[in-house]
Structures are given as C-alpha cells and as structure tokens.
C-alpha cells in the first residue's frame, strides 16, 4: 500500500475530530502506521487518542525552542494503537492569524523530518469551513490525496461542505480527490434523505453514516475514542468500514471524485427543500490572464515613516517585521544622502529615530501586542513622552488592536502621548495616503493658543524631496528674505517636536505644491487658525511675478514686492539675452511624468526662442488611480500637448520627429544615442530656476553628442528598449498620436456583438483608444478582438 494523505474537512463542531481519531484508530488496528495532524487552534483533535493528555502544539513549541534544539519527537506523541499524534495549535481566539499558523506548522514539521517517519496514512483534521489560504493548505495538491467531508443533515453543514468543494475546485483538477461524504448524524428530520439529495446533486457517495450513540459520552469520560473503548459498538463498526474505504483508496481500488459544487441558487433550492435546478457545474474561477490590475503603488507605512521621520526627536516605532524597518530607514537614509549630495545648503543630520518591533512569524500567528508594548515601555522609560507607532500590513491583517494598546500604554505610562498611525502597509493605500496620515497626526500637535507674531514663514510639504533638491531651498529663502521675512521653517522637515508645537507663531504658511497631500496638510493648518497663502511656491519666471504681486497685496508690502519683481525681471531678461542666440530656432520635444508641471520650463524655452513640437504627458498608471501628469498646460494653444501611456508610441513619434533637444527621455527608457537627451530638472522654484535651467541647457548644447562610456561594453549602449513591445506591436505614427483610434460607431458595434455588455477592463481600454491612447494594460487577445470587430 502506498502512503496516502487524507484530509477530513467539515463545518465547525460537526464531529471532524471524533471522526478523525476514530478513523485513525481503526486504520491502526488494521496494521497501518497512522499519523494524525490536528489543524485546529483549539488543538483537541488527538485528545482521545492520548487519553485526554496534554500535547505540546507545534506553534507553541516553535515560540519557545530555538531551531537548533527542535526535535520532531517533542511535538509528536504516540497514542492509542500506535497512532502518531501532532497538534498544530494556534493563537487565542480573536488574536493573530491561525491560518498563518497552519502554513507554518506544515513547513516546520517538514523541516523537522516528518517525511522520514515511516507511515502508511497521514490524516489531517482541518478546522471547519475553508476560511482562508492557510486552512486550505491541506487541500493543496502536494498534501491531500483524498478528501473526506463530514456533514450532517443541517443546511449549514451542507453549505460548508459545498464551500469545501469550491475550495477544492480552486486548487486545480489535476486528478479527482474527493473520496466522499461522511454523514455524522444530528438527528435532524429526514436527515439521510437530505444528505442523499445533496450528495446526489454534487455527485458524491455517502461513504459512512454514523449514528448518534450514548457510547460517545462514555468513551469521552474514559478519555478514549469510541472505537477503542467500545469496539463492538455500532459506531466502531462503521469506523472500521470507513477504514476499509481508506485502505481501498490507498490501494487504488476505491474511487475518487472530482468536485462539482452547487451554485448559490442551487444551494437555495436545497435550503428550501425544492428540486435542485440543473444549471451545469459551478465553474472554477479561472486565471484571468491579462486581467490583473495595477496595485496601489507604494506602501502607506513607508510613506508615513518617511514623512514622520523628518521630525528629529520623534521616536517612531514601526510595528512590523525587521525587513520593513530596514527598508524604511534605508529609504530615509538614501533620501538624506541624496539631499546632502545635491543640495549645497543641506546639513548632515543623524536622526536614528526609526526602529521596528521585528515581528517574527510567531508574532504573525499569535499577535504582536507584546512586542509593541515592550518597545513602547522602553521608549517611555528612556523619557520619551511623545511616541509614534506606524503599523505595517502584518498587524493590519492579523488585527492587532492598536486602540487598546494605546489605551493601555497611556494608562501604564502617565504623560505619554502615543500617536498611532494605522497605515497598515498598502492595505489602506499608497505612500501619499501614509504621508498625509502621519502629517495630520503631527500637525494636530500644534498649539492652538500660540499667536502669530514672527515675520517668519512655514513652507508646508509632506516630503520635501523636491524642495530640498539642488538649490530650490536656497532660492525660496532668498526670495522670502527679499520680501522681508526672516527665517523659513520647513513644516515638517528637520524640526523638533517643540518647533512643530509652536509653529503657529509664524505669520505665513506656504504650500510647496498644489496637490492633494499638501492641500490636506493645509486644511489642518487652517482648522488650527493658521494663515495659508492661496498660491503655492512659484515655479519659474511668470509664476514668480504673479506670486510676488499677490504677496504684496496680501501683506501690504506692494512696494517691496514690486522692487523684488523688477530685479527678477531684469535678471531674467539678462539671461534670455545671453542665451537666445544659442536656442533660437531649436526644436524641442518634452516628456513629462508624475511631477508633470513643466510649464515653467516650457516658458523659458519659448522665451529663449525654441520651437516646442510636442509635450508628452505620460500617464503612469493606465486605468489606475493616479491622474494624468500635471494640470492642463498654460501653453496648450502654442504647443502640441499629448497625453500618452505607452512609451513605445512616444518613442516612435520622437524618432520620427528627431528634435534638436529631447527633454525627459529617461521616462521612456531612452538614453542618448541618436540625438542629445536633456534631463528634466526638479530645481523649479522661483525665477532663479528658469535662469539656471537656461544655463544648464546652454552648457549641454555645447557638450559632446553622447556619453562615450555607453559604448565601453562594445555594444550600442543603453538606449535600446527591450522586452516592452507586445507581440505584433506596430508603433503609432505621429498622425494617429493624440487622435481617436476607434470611433463611437465601432464601439457600439463591438458592444452589440458582445451581447450588450463588455468587461470593465475592455470598456476602459476602449475609452483610452477613443481618447487616442494605446491601452497598454489590455491583453493582446482583446486587441485582436477589437481589430477583428473594426477597431484601429
């Protein structure tokens, strides 16, 4: 007989453990070597095989035993008739993730050498319904060869049995694996008929019909299975017959069946005791090739840590695995180092204010409360009175109760203010959402009673990446100083908590950008009664002029603002005069990305005499959450603005155009080669940015045509875009770019041919085609369909 692995599934409380342990005992008395693995956190599957004794569960053992000391015999007891017994165990109800525990148990016993233990039958007794991926592990192809489902005549038991069949269907149909139903009677009226009806409709046999019997109670009192305590009883005989069925399956004599679960409508028929309508099989959810949507991008926790980490003296505890802590603090370091490398005015600051609770696999199973509380206590003992906790996806998924932790921690440590940001990895959104949540939490600390007094200014941003890039900060500070403002504070960057609390003392608050996150911060400031200047920081010459005029009128410093504007105008005019001879008549293509507000750059180039042919605005996430790059261009009437989502198309147009200058070629994976490529710049604030950019462009025009190192490898260089062309892709010509690729009539025709309704993804794709964009997220097959139906 070959080794057989069987899984016993069924609704909670239906009698799986009783069935399993009796079956194990019966198999053992047939001379088989049997291993029973209980996969229920309440770990009572093998209780009556070991005379009600205590069993060390695998998960408990893992928590307390280092890997080098782990031995299989510590978690495997030998019970009645030599049945080997293992219990997975799991967390207390309401805490942690029991499904993860099952995954870990299987992995662990495998590592401890369960494969080397001689056995004829392995029997998995699995908790209730298929509730999550973890509990479905025994169903996987590499485990259960045969699945028995325990049910009664109660509707909910059959409902659960049907769900198990659905689960099995999702785990593939490489071979039939359902052995049949075990009817464990509950003395429901017409019980046998009801279950027979269900069995017939799902095409399964009832392999055992176990009656209720008083011997069970007596056997339990003795701490034994009924098969052991009363071998001549009716149930014991049935279990022995069931064991014969298992042996037959193992020896290839018994039949296994494919799962054919009922649909919801059919289940309703069953519940209402109606004739079950024949509707064909419930279909397995097939892999929807090409249907996968783009995710939420980054991670809210990462965003929150990034933003909050800029408060110098705020201890941040990342409630999550060590790798999250590492990645997030490393990201922080890289940004600080980048600032130091590019911004001549930045000063090196060592914060070291980020740490993680180092959640292990154990914490994922049993909950991470203790780890977190320990760390909070340590920080509180070190005298920290304000601590921020940012959650990752692991506590979010296992349901750690952060509100309770906050309450307990603040009760335990008087004076402690525990700020909890439930970012939960990417469960709640991307980086922007995390940054905003952290910023709002910190801004809420601002003291409402402080009165604006200092002629100083807060620059408001959630990340300061662009503000701190190059000389941006220097230019803004210079402009503010010219207008008579003292210090420029970064809200929030390189500040202490005390400074945040007192930040209302500064009379002016200016946003860096007009975007959702920064505006969200501004809303908090306004609620706090702080004056937020209506315009964000100016980018380039024209905006600076407008901005200065508005500042003059808002603060009653018109004369001074006019002076500054006059100086700026003179500086800009001088720069244009210097560079115009070099730029006059040059053709330019610009490719913009997510930071798409390039109008200031366009303005400088136009003023310097360039001809801008195309401004491509790359939509980074077709069909996704992020909007197309930037706001509508001010120069839409003077240049050809094209929204694009496929780099190959942009590339085709650029190659056809061959402009003298290509700005932002890196966006489409283009580096040098046929003509010179110019970087976009993030040094954008004030009129100084326009002047500086013209200087840079001028120098670059004088430089060699390409970077020679790209040929050191003996190849063409890095400009080649490989692997992104879909099969059969034909680049869009310039003529079709930005124009409708499909007409309304054609869309209607396609809809009609598809019976009036089309999948949402296809609908989105058609919309994009109509707007002149190639929907790159759309699978090739759909293109073929559209093409065959008359699309472009």
């Amino acid at each position: 007989m070959e080794m057989l692995q069987i899984a016993i599934y069924g609704k909670g409380g239906i009698g799986k453990s009783t069935t399993s342990s009796n079956l194990s005992f019966a198999l053992a008395t047939r001379g088989k070597k049997v291993l029973q693995v209980g996969c229920d956190p309440k770990h009572d599957s093998t209780k009556y095989l070991i005379e009600g004794g205590n069993q060390t569960t695998v998960l408990d053992y893992l928590r307390h035993t280092p890997p080098s000391e782990r031995k299989l015999e510590d978690v495997m007891l030998t019970g009645a008739a030599g049945v080997m017994c293992i219990e997975a165990g799991g967390p207390e109800p309401g805490i942690g993730c029991a499904g993860r525990g099952i995954l870990t148990t299987f992995d662990t016993i495998e590592k401890m050498g369960i494969g080397d233990v001689q056995k004829d039958v392995t029997l998995y007794d699995v908790l209730g319904d298929v509730v999550c991926g973890g509990f479905a592990v025994p169903m996987r192809n590499e485990y259960a060869d045969a699945v028995y489902i325990v049910t009664s005549g109660e509707f909910m038991a059959m409902y659960a049995a049907n769900n198990i069949l659905r689960g099995l269907l999702n785990f593939g149909n490489a071979r039939p694996r359902v052995a049949g139903l075990i009817l464990n009677r509950r003395n429901v009226d017409n019980e046998r008929e009801l279950v027979e009806k269900f069995a017939k409709s799902v095409g399964l046999p009832i392999v055992a019909d176990v009656p209720r019997a008083r011997e069970y109670i007596e056997a339990e009192r003795l701490g034994k299975t009924v098969s052991e305590a009363f071998p001549d009883s009716e149930p014991a005989k049935i279990y022995r017959a069931l064991a014969d069925n298992v042996v037959a399956v193992a020896e290839g004599r018994g039949q296994l069946y494919e799962p054919h679960p009922l649909s919801d409508a059919q289940l309703n028929d069953l519940a209402a005791d109606r004739e079950i309508a024949m509707m064909g099989d419930f279909k397995r959810e097939e892999c929807r090739c090409g249907s996968v949507r783009r995710g939420t991008g980054s991670c809210a926790s990462r965003g929150a840590v990034f933003a909050a980490g800029r408060v110098n003296d705020l201890p941040i505890i990342i409630h999550g695995p060590a790798s999250c802590g590492y990645v997030m603090s490393h990201t922080q370091d890289v940004h600080f180092l980048t600032e130091l490398g590019t911004n001549p005015n930045s000063v090196g600051i060592l914060r070291n204010n980020i740490q993680s609770t180092r959640m292990s696999n154990d914490s994922s199973i049993f909950g991470g409360h203790e780890d977190l509380m320990r760390m909070i206590r340590r920080e509180a003992d070190a005298g920290k009175r304000t601590i921020m906790v940012i959650t990752t996806c692991v506590p979010g998924m296992i349901g750690d109760n952060l509100d309770l932790i906050k309450k307990n921690a603040e009760a335990e440590c008087p004076g402690l203010n525990l700020i909890v940001v439930k970012a939960d990895g990417n469960l709640t959104g991307g980086s922007e959402e995390g940054r905003l949540a952290a910023m709002k939490a910190i801004l809420s600390l601002i003291d409402d009673d402080v009165k604006p007094a200092d002629m100083e200014c807060n620059v408001v941003d959630d990340n300061f990446i662009i503000y701190q890039s190059g000389r941006n900060s220097e230019w803004v500070e210079r402009l503010m100083a010219d207008l008579g403002f003292g210090k420029v504070h970064r809200l929030i960057d390189n500040v202490s908590l005390d400074e945040v609390v007192c930040s209302k003392k500064n009379v002016l608050n200016v946003r860096t950008f007009d975007d959702e996150t920064v505006n969200g911060m501004a809303e908090v400031l306004e609620v706090k009664g702080m004056r937020v200047f209506p315009l964000p920081l100016p980018k380039g010459y024209s905006q600076t002029m407008e901005w200065l005029e508005r500042m003059g009128s808002e603060f009653g410093i018109e004369e001074r603002a006019a002076e500054v504007a006059a100086r700026a105008g003179a500086d800009y005019a001088a720069a244009l005069a210097r560079h115009r001879p070099f730029f006059e008549g040059k053709t330019v293509d610009i490719i913009s990305g997510i930071f798409g507000d390039d109008d200031w750059m366009v303005e400088a180039l136009l003023d310097a005499g360039c001809t801008i042919r195309n401004s491509f605005r790359m939509r980074m996430r077709p069909g996704g959450g992020a909007p197309a790059a930037g706001r509508p261009s001010r120069f839409a009437d003077r240049i050809n603005v094209i929204e694009a989502s496929n780099p190959m198309e942009v590339r085709a147009v650029v190659e056809e155009d061959r402009p003298d200058i290509l700005i932002g070629g890196a966006m489409i994976g283009w580096h040098g080669q046929q003509f010179k490529e110019f970087s976009r710049t993030y040094q954008c604030f004030t009129h100084y940015a326009s002047i500086e950019y013209l200087e840079y462009m001028h120098s670059l025009l004088l430089s060699a045509p390409d970077m020679g190192w790209r040929k050191w490898n003996g190849e063409e260089g890095l400009g080649h875009l490989g692997g992104t062309k879909p099969p059969g892709f034909k680049p869009t010509s310039r003529e079709t770019m930005g124009k409708q690729l499909i007409t309304d009539t054609q869309i209607e025709r396609i809809k009609t041919m598809m019976g009036g309704s089309i999948p949402p993804q296809m609908e989105a794709g058609l919309k994009e085609l109509k707007e002149g964009r190639m929907p790159s997220g759309m699978p090739q097959q759909m293109f073929e369909i559209i093409k065959s139906m008359g699309g472009a």
Partner: protein, 474 residues
C-alpha cells in the same frame, strides 16, 4: 539577496511595490548588470530591472492573489532568467496563495522555487545561507567525480563589501595554494556553475555565518570537505591565519599565499612610514558579523592602537567567533563595549556604507570603513575587497587617510568647514539677500565635536596621555 547574487536568476516578489522598491534599488546598486531595459510601463518591473513584483493591492489580501503570481511568472519566464525564486512579502505570506501551483502550471518545476516565509525578522545570514541551500537542493546538481584541488567558495554574497573583488582576491590566494575555485556560490555565479559545483573537493567559507548550511549541503550530498575557519580573513594577520587553517584542512601548501600577503604587508609598512597618522587612542565602532568583528577589532587594536567603543553583531550569531571577541575585549579591559548602543561620537565607524556615510557626514564619526554594501551615494571604481591582503590595504586606506578619501573625507571637510564658517560669520556677511542659517542642535553638537576632534591632538591633555602611553610601553 541570495538569489539576486546568482547571475542569471531573478526574484519575483509576491507583494506590493513598496516592499520591493528599495530592494530593487539596492540590488541594482550592489550587482549592476546588463538587464533587459525596462520602463515604468513594463509589467511587473515598473521601471526597475531587478526584482519584479506582483503589485498587490488591498483587496488581494482578502480575496487572494493567485492570478497575479501566475501571470507574473508567465511574463518573467520569457525574460531569460534561468532560475526564479518567489519571495512573499510579510503581508502576502499571510494570504496563503499557492505559489507552488503557479510554478507547476507555468511548467517551471525545474527552475523555480517558493522561498520560506517564516524567515521574517530572522538575521540576514540565516536567510542567505538557507536560501542558497534551498536553491542548490532544487537545482539538484548531479553527484559526479570529485575534481581534486577544486573548491566552492562560500560565505561571500552581494551585500558584502566589493564582493566581486573578494572573489578575485580569495581566488588568487587559494590559487596560490593550488586550489581552484569553481564556483563562488551566491556571489555572481551562474546556474550552470552551481550545477557543476558538485565536483568540488572542498567547500571553503570566507565568512562562516553565511556558509554553514551550504557547506553542510556540499558535504552531505557530494562529500566535499567543509573548511570553515572561526573568523574571516580581515586584516593581514587574520588572513595569514586563515590561509594556515585552510592549508591544514586541505593539505595544500600555504607558502606562496603567505608570501603574497607578506608582500602587500611590506608595501603597507613602507606607506605607513610615510604617513602622518593619528589613530592612537581612536575609538572605533564595529557593527558586523562576529567572524568579521573579531579580526577587525584585533587588527585595529594590535596594529593601530585603537580602542573599541562598541562592537555589535546586529542579531547575527556565531558562538565561536563571539567567544573570541569577548576574550579580546576582556584582555583589553573593555568588556562593556559589547552589544551596546553606538556612542554619539566615535572616530571610526565600521558598518554598511550608508550608515558610515550618515555618521561621517553628520559629524558623529570622523572616518568610516564600509563593511557591507557601499553608500548609495558613491560608486566605487577601484577594487576594495574587505577580505584578504587587498582587504587589509583597503581598511588602512580608509582609517589612515584623513580628508583624502574622495567620498567621505572630502565631503566631511566641506560640511565641517561650512558649519564652522557659518558659526563664525557675522549675520550681515552674506548681505540682506541671504537669510541667516540656523544651526540645528544636532549639527551644532556635531560641529563642537568636530572642531574639538580637529584640535584635540594638540591639546595638553592629549599630549600628556600620549606621553603616558609611551612611558608605559617603554
């Protein structure tokens, strides 16, 4: 990172963008290679040539994301990767998606694996060592005839300082002993090299913490003799001892290798004669594996009169090497330096490149030695292995040279000078167009420490201290 260290392999991260972005950048940094170009629109890669990912979104945690894994594999398998490892992010590992089924359904059984999710928060050495073993088990190289005088080099990995030069240096040293390295396991080797590595006579570890499981695999499966010294070849003396240990275990002659080390040691000696160095009584911080911390601390203490302020292992355990470190600290009389917080200031800091950069640039350390990957801000063109005789020269270069290092020293001086200048300047020096620059408290403290450090060798106290030491020596 273990799988990323195999030249023609790739990791598929089953997780969201946020989990892979940093690792993708780090891999690209430490192991630059000519990958197929990607753009932001390339599915699963999204602008980064390394570590494609399944781009999980919140609903996937509830409904599962098997489709994502299946489709990602379908796409990636066409991109030349000889071997694919699926790594679940901590969150994704809770979903319980059947990644093995996705492998099977893509027909990748022979060249793809799913890596353990229960390594969460385990030290990095455990992850690298166990993963390489799992990869080898999956590849299942055929046991053939042992080729005498050959070895696999273990314990080097792509996060190690200039791992490519480590391969070269250790290959040179072993070559001088008559041992040919046929596979640098997990450090730039190819799948083919791993398949052929079963012929190795020896499994030699350059850093034992990363090699125990892999060495055991070679011993159990192919009978390769494991050679795992308790310490890494860091500094001249440790390199010489390491060579002797390897020679003893392999019965290969050490003389030529020792001559090579001696040659470079003499070169270092001649340079030291010309150096104006000031390392005596410098405090040093080491954050490294015990097998690296021990020889490095000994090198600093014995040769440069430096004093340990803090030695940390960052959760990496190696009882034998730890015992050596404890013994050394006891001998010096500094047992309290073990596993303590990094002090606010130390002259020399030895850890990963980013941290060294942060500490030196912020004035919390004077100089630093990158023990692991370099700072994200620097690109290293010159060979700078940490191990072997070349490694000893690299360490000296970084410790002895004040402000001459093109990366940290120079920047440090500029920053320090600027801070000093600002602190001294009158507010009106920059004219009305420049706002006064505030010194934050940290920077202020850094400046004070920095200026103090600059002049401390000239202070009376320091001279007295030096004289005392000289007297003691005499």
């Amino acid at each position: 990172m273990a799988v990323e260290g195999i030249a023609d392999s790739t990791v598929l991260m089953h997780g969201p963008e946020g989990c892979r972005r940093n690792l993708g950048a780090l891999t690209k940094k430490v192991y630059p290679r000519r990958d197929k170009s990607v753009s932001m629109m390339t599915p699963y890669y999204r602008g980064s040539a390394r570590i494609p990912h399944t781009d999980l979104e919140s609903s996937d945690y509830i409904y599962g994301a098997y489709d994502r894994v299946f489709e990602a594999l379908q796409y990636i398998k066409e991109r030349d990767a000889q071997f694919i490892a699926i790594v679940c992010s901590p969150g994704a590992s809770l979903i319980g998606d059947d990644c093995q089924k996705a492998i099977d359904e893509n027909g990748l059984q022979s060249r793809a694996i799913v890596l353990d999710a229960d390594l969460s928060s385990k030290p990095i050495n455990v992850g690298i060592d166990l993963t390489l073993r799992r990869v080898l088990e999956k590849l299942d190289p055929e046991a053939g005839r042992i080729k005498e005088g050959t070895a696999v080099l273990l314990g080097n990995h792509v996060l190690q300082k200039d791992w490519e030069s480590v391969n070269e240096e250790m290959g040179r040293i072993l070559g001088l002993m008559g041992i040919e390295v046929i596979c640098n396991v997990g450090a730039g080797c190819t799948v083919r090299e791993m398949m052929e590595s079963s012929a190795a006579e020896f499994a030699i570890a350059v850093c034992p913490e990363y090699a125990r499981e892999t060495a055991a695999f070679y011993a159990e499966r192919f009978g390769a003799k494991p050679v795992i010294p308790d310490f890494s070849p860091v500094g001249f003396e440790a390199t010489e001892d390491w060579i002797r240990k390897v020679a003893e275990a392999t019965r290969h002659p050490p003389e030529k290798a020792l001559d090579y080390v001696d040659g470079l040691k003499k070169r270092a000696y001649r340079r030291m004669l010309a150096a104006r160095f000031d390392t005596d009584a410098f405090g040093f911080v080491i954050d490294a594996e015990p097998s690296i911390a021990y020889p490095l601390a000994k090198f600093f203490y014995d040769n440069l009169q430096m004093v340990p302020k803090c030695i940390r292992y960052n959760g990496i355990s190696n009882p034998l090497s730890e015992a050596l470190v404890s013994k050394l600290l006891d001998r010096i009389g500094m047992p309290e330096a073990l596993e303590v917080d990094i002090p606010d200031y130390a002259e020399i800091i030895c850890t990963d490149g980013n941290t060294v950069d942060m500490y030196t640039r912020s004035g919390h350390a004077m100089r630093g030695v990158d023990l692991r990957f370099p700072s994200m801000m620097s690109v290293e063109f010159l060979q700078q292995p940490l191990f072997g005789a070349q490694g000893a020269l690299y360490i000296l270069e970084r410790v002895i040279n004040r402000f001459r290092g093109e990366r940290h020293g120079d920047k440090h001086r500029r920053i320090g000078f600027r801070i000093f200048q600002r602190a001294c300047a009158r507010p009106c020096d920059h004219g009305p167009r420049r706002p006064a620059v505030r010194l934050d408290t940290r920077a202020e403290r850094g400046r004070q420490i920095y200026t103090h450090t600059l002049h401390q060798q000239d202070t009376q106290a320091r001279r007295r201290e030096r004289d005392d030491r000289r007297q003691r020596r005499e």
